[in-house]
Symmetry: C2
Subunit: 156 residues, 2 copies
């Protein structure tokens, strides 16, 4: 799935669309993949690694009280982050990822549970569940987010 | 050099010190390395991938006029980012990385030129030059920043 980041960057350059990302559990891996391609600076404005609840609050203004309810991992948090980073960096597309990479996770929630979201023409989110080691699920989650961004050109 | 991120996280946990990172050319790879270790959320508050001048301006308030002079790659930008992210996320330690990963770079500056900085007890920066492919130099730069943070426990 690795070529997808490159394909996405090419598509963004061709369509003159800019992108910004806010991710938590993947720890910056999504932004790393997107910026592997030379010339990505033409369209990739920047990313946030909103690893703590405090970062989600201080960087994009999400209320701490709401974040605490789900430890920052929910559909609504993913949607708010995607919309928030799009607005913050004045980008055409905003994308986000939150989740529990493991090995630990809160009671009743399996590690490998993620919510990904894209804010473009519309805002869309997806709950995903990935099995594997901490590193495997983080990388896979980033790749699935990149695919969701790519698909957002066709799905709306 | 990969175990260094893990060693750093352990050291931060042991010393109850928090860390935040702002990086450009490495595209999030530093934050990714730091969050590979389970439990890193205890000490890693978050990161910024300030890939564009606009991101450096909008997320940490660096003046666009100053950034344009060096395309955002200078000792003073690295220092301002390290201090800025430390303050923004209320972290004990702030660290930053800016550079040209290549293959292209401005006239007169070799790709592989980076400035890294750490703001802890004092603020310290280092100019580094790394040879290799785009991906190799990005990864190596992140690893050298992690080492600089680690060393900052002993050097001050």
């Amino acid at each position: 799935m690795m070529p997808t980041a490159k394909k996405l960057i090419k598509k963004l350059i061709k369509n003159k669309l800019s992108l910004a990302v806010a991710e938590s559990a993947s720890g910056g891996y999504t932004s790393y993949l997107l910026t592997k391609t030379p010339g990505s600076s033409k369209v990739f404005k920047g990313g946030l690694v909103v690893y703590s609840l405090e970062a989600k609050n201080k960087l994009l203004g999400l209320p701490i009280k709401n974040l605490k309810k789900t430890q920052g991992v929910s559909k609504s948090v993913a949607l708010a982050l995607a919309k928030g980073i799009r607005k913050k960096l004045n980008a055409d597309i905003g994308a986000s990822l939150v989740g529990f990479a493991g090995p630990d996770s809160p009671k009743g929630i399996k590690p490998g549970t993620f919510f990904i979201a894209v804010s473009f023409k519309k805002t869309r989110s997806k709950k995903i569940f990935i099995q594997g080691t901490r590193d495997q699920v983080r990388k896979k989650a980033s790749q699935l987010l990149i695919r969701l961004i790519y698909e957002s050109f066709y799905r709306y």
